[in-house]
Symmetry: C2
Subunit: 350 residues, 2 copies
DNA sequence: CTGAAAGCGCTTACAG
DNA sequence: CTGAAAGCGCTTACAG
């Protein structure tokens, strides 16, 4: 059915080795073909609709033009889905994408990496965290690839090319803004399992401003199996505020815009105004954020820049496998909008 | 480095063929092994961390346990990203996922299918439309797979297993609701390029109620290269209403919640109330929709059910390649919320 | 300048 | 019950 190199060679009247050489000019090889011969092969290939079988090439240890993307597919989406952006970027570069979920588990990551390796993938893009990067298994499995770009909130210990996708800067900026505009009792809606660093960054930044956060200033929300993020926020706030006469906080920082919108609904239910009574800041800068009433302050993950960095590092590495690993930092940014109170230019003067 | 079947055979003191048979019991083969021999092979494999090379298997025409997912990755996301859901479903079934964007182009789809084919993929999940399904190239390329599940708004002409993901039912339900609650001049914000059927369903349903839609009742929004969907809606409404003293519509149906939220912001800017002055209905049922003020009516795409159907059809087909193609319809549903006016139970009594 | 041979890692008819 | 051989489709040293 599908034509092979044999068919092409036969049709062009040359040997398979000559046909192979004709189709891969510029390859180091002591095979030199007459231009006319080469043309004949190319015509035969075109006539037969021939495509090199990448499986056969891979079996000989050649590159497969495939990149494995290992991302946490279960997390609530941000403004867009990163793996989608990466897949598109790779496709435009004429690479194919293997997509796998890392299920936030080091064993799963190691398993997926081994699967990638055995499938002859050229490189891997891995969304990682401290726990994953600390795994011996993962550290070993990732050696199998010519190229590996690791995206992690902190510097990775995997010894690969690394993009530090820093969310802590944005959290500090948000806290700075809230404090500068007079808030003294902010709470933070965040999934504890995901990233302990987020909660401690929040608390530390409050302390840096001389504030003492309440013991329950961080409200744990587990969005992993939730289908309704707004409801999660409402339940968390209900649990915290049960029995209190007055609301015990004057600002809400949330780890996603969906949670933030849930918090706003909760406040509305109590007759409280945003930002006058309580300031609210979300995260991930959902498309809708700027069109809500009031427009919702958020955190820009800078995903287009992130994809560009991945692209740059990945293809540079494939070109130069032996260069020393690189490290680049990309900070998420606080995006001021009215729900945060104050103003963008004069955060200290609400 | 990576151990091969040879290594396992050597360690177990058997021939490669015996090792192969030991690792694939139940395979039709005239090779019969003593249980003790089999155990020795399994132990050797475990000790070496052996993994069968799927490339080598594929080269012999065996299944690769890989599914290609060809989806329109560029469209604004719905509640979640379908390709992500599918990738997770496949991973749980111990299949790997090749992900490619079809770029809303029949040539790109044919190209991607050929790439999949040459990579020895077992089956494909394709998001299609009438134009793609009409392409001879696509029709031919899709024959290469043992299994192909096509998801399309209408019945596919590709001759494969087919899920009709019907959005027209929901559009009619929304129009019915709007008319029943007294709206007479609805407009529809929709990308014309995407699906002419959407606009004509909307217009036809208005006519069925005896209404004559305005010539500019359908407002074309092209979200393909937009980064700001809310702004798109605002510009479309600005363009339509320029120079009018009063707003010329009493309801907005939008092809996404993001557009709907933009329309609501536009109305707010004019001092109009939702739903009292203008009813608004979005689509895709974003996480935030139910928590907005007023809660936003939408369209539920029923993606969890869609993924289940894909799973069912795909694996049934892989088991029984020669069964006749199946066809199942899954209708999206109008989700009433206050922004649509009236009430869920008594749509006719606002 | 071009062809025949070996081999990547597997599986399966075929001998023994 | 087990092993030797051929072959999937390619590429590359090696002969000529």
């Amino acid at each position: 059915m599908r034509s092979t190199l044999q068919d092409v060679a036969r049709r062009a009247g040359v040997s398979p080795s000559a046909a192979s050489a004709a189709l891969r000019p510029g390859r180091s090889s002591n095979v030199r073909l007459a231009e006319a011969t080469r043309q004949r092969v190319l015509e035969a290939a075109a006539a037969l609709g021939y495509r090199t079988n990448p499986l056969a090439r891979a079996l000989r240890g050649e590159a497969t033009r495939t990149i494995g993307v290992l991302w946490w597919l279960g997390s609530p989406s941000g403004r867009e889905f990163m793996a989608r952006r990466i897949a598109r970027m790779l496709q435009v570069n004429d690479y194919s994408t293997y997509l796998a979920d890392h299920f936030a588990s080091a064993e799963q990551v190691a398993e997926a990496l081994k699967d990638f390796a055995v499938r002859g993938i050229d490189g891997v893009v891995l969304e990682s965290d401290d726990t994953i990067a600390a795994s011996r298994d993962v550290q070993q499995a990732i050696q199998a690839f010519k190229a590996a770009v690791v995206v992690q909130p902190t510097e990775t210990s995997l010894g690969t090319d690394n993009i530090v996708h820093d969310r802590y800067v944005a959290i500090r900026e948000a806290v700075d803004h809230l404090v500068a505009t007079g808030r003294r009792r902010p709470v933070y809606l965040v999934a504890r399992h995901a990233n302990l660093g987020k909660a401690s960054t929040f608390l530390d930044q409050l302390r840096r401003h001389g504030l003492t956060p309440a013991p329950d200033a961080v409200l744990d929300v587990d969005e992993r199996h939730a289908d309704n993020f707004g409801q999660l926020a409402i339940e968390a706030l209900d649990a915290r505020e049960a029995g209190r006469a007055n609301v015990g906080f004057d600002a809400v920082l949330a780890t996603s815009d969906e949670l933030a919108v849930g918090a706003i609904a909760w406040l509305r239910g109590r007759g409280l105004r945003v930002p006058d009574d309580v300031a609210v800041v979300g995260a991930n800068d959902a498309h809708m954020a700027g069109f809500l009433d009031p427009p919702l302050a958020s955190v820009d993950r800078r995903e287009p820049e992130l994809v560009s960095l991945i692209e740059e590092k990945l293809f540079r590495r494939l070109d130069a496998p032996d260069a020393p690993p690189t490290r680049t930092s990309l900070a998420m940014r606080f995006v001021w909008r009215p729900s945060a109170g104050g103003s963008a230019q004069h955060p200290g003067q609400p």
